[in-house]
Symmetry: C2
Subunit: 212 residues, 2 copies
DNA sequence: ACGAAGCGGATATGCTGTATCCGGTTTGAG
DNA sequence: CTCAAACCGGATACAGCATATCCGCTTCGT
């Protein structure tokens, strides 16, 4: 009945607003979560996050009952940002170039975010937020692909289902043992994108489906 | 005749030969190791292996003091087999086709061998045997690439250093969550190989090295 | 047939991540 | 300013897991 939304994020629907310090800490935790998951991947501990945030473990567990919950919040945000990139890309005229640019930007972000990469590979995080963002991204890609096809830039048989594998492959390159943080992945992204582009005398692509 | 070496593998240089049952068990363990590592990856336990071999844990630990030791033995064998494939490939006239064929065969094997794939990615296993086999494979690939280059079939700038990333990428596709054991990876291997082949009007490849 | 070699697997050990609990501290309304 | 509710901190209990050992019993082989 007398329900009111304080803001978009801060407090859940029917709840009383947090005390000022508590709210501040919530943010701190979220930020620490981003940083820690980015650096150490999803196997990082909530205790790690707490320490990184300069807070006690209890504080973190009070806000996020378990790692899953924090991860949902963190990656909900991060995926939303990537979804935004995808949306932006749709403004570009050349659809293929737009897709390529989007992939490059999104993957460049993933390059510095181990947690995000783990998420890309094994779709662990189950929450509603991340799921929605994922769908959004998928949708934007589908549109981009459709338009690229219309523009004659897309190789026959390429579909949205190719995007995830490509991301996974590039991630694999990023995960390769390397001394210096390397930009090597760009080399293979170029090759892969080349493979998606329409070319004069092109062999057909092996099927996607199970029945070959 | 007093003393003679039964075969190449069975016993180490100066040691007394194993009792017949012990030797049999050694083989059983090795075989079980292959199967278990293939199915469950390197995180499988020596206890798992023992159970799979139908033997007690103690028996396994007596032969192989720890997982590392067994893994070295197992993957020494497996990598040798792959090295043999690479050597065979060198007989073919068309060097690029030979390389492509080798990669396909080797990766097809990896497709059913999770442990091998994990090894491909993060070069964990340190032993001498695996290391030698690796080098052998590398060498064969280098020769194949050199010849393909001579034959004008190879894209400019492609080197042996591209092989490992490609393997890693294909592995990533194999590791993708899929209902049925999928042959999807072949699709991307085709694309990747296409990217390594020389083509008429080709953009230069982004550099491999750090200094770009 | 008998001593040596080998086997089995219950179990001790150590480690890691998870999550709780409660005495002390901070906030903010009155 | 006062005080109760809200909140914090982090030591610690707990649970699961892989590793590795130990020793009474079995099998081999001479």
């Amino acid at each position: 009945m007398g329900r009111q939304r304080g803001g978009a994020e801060p407090a859940a629907a029917g709840a009383r607003p947090l005390r000022r310090d508590a709210e501040l800490n919530r943010r701190r935790i979220l930020q620490a979560g981003r940083e820690v998951f980015a650096a150490r991947g999803l196997q990082a501990t909530l205790n790690d996050v707490a320490h990184h945030a300069g807070l006690g473990v209890g504080t973190v567990y009070r806000k996020y009952p378990d790692k899953q919950a924090l991860a949902e919040a963190v990656f909900g945000e991060e995926l939303d940002e990537i979804a935004a990139m995808a949306q932006e890309a749709r403004a570009e005229d050349d659809a293929f170039a737009a897709l390529a640019g989007f992939l490059e930007r999104a993957l460049a972000r993933a390059a510095h975010n181990r947690g995000l990469r783990e998420l890309m590979r094994h779709g662990i995080i189950e929450g509603a937020g991340p799921a929605r963002a994922r769908q959004e991204i998928t949708l934007h890609c589908e549109h981009l692909l459709a338009r690229a096809r219309t523009q004659g830039a897309l190789r026959d048989g390429v579909t949205e289902a190719d995007i995830a594998p490509i991301a996974a492959m590039i991630d694999a390159v990023m995960a390769l043992p390397a001394e210096h943080p390397s930009e090597l992945w760009r080399r293979y992204l170029v090759i892969l994108l080349d493979g998606l582009r329409a070319h004069p005398h092109q062999a057909p692509l092996p099927s996607l489906g199970g029945a070959d």
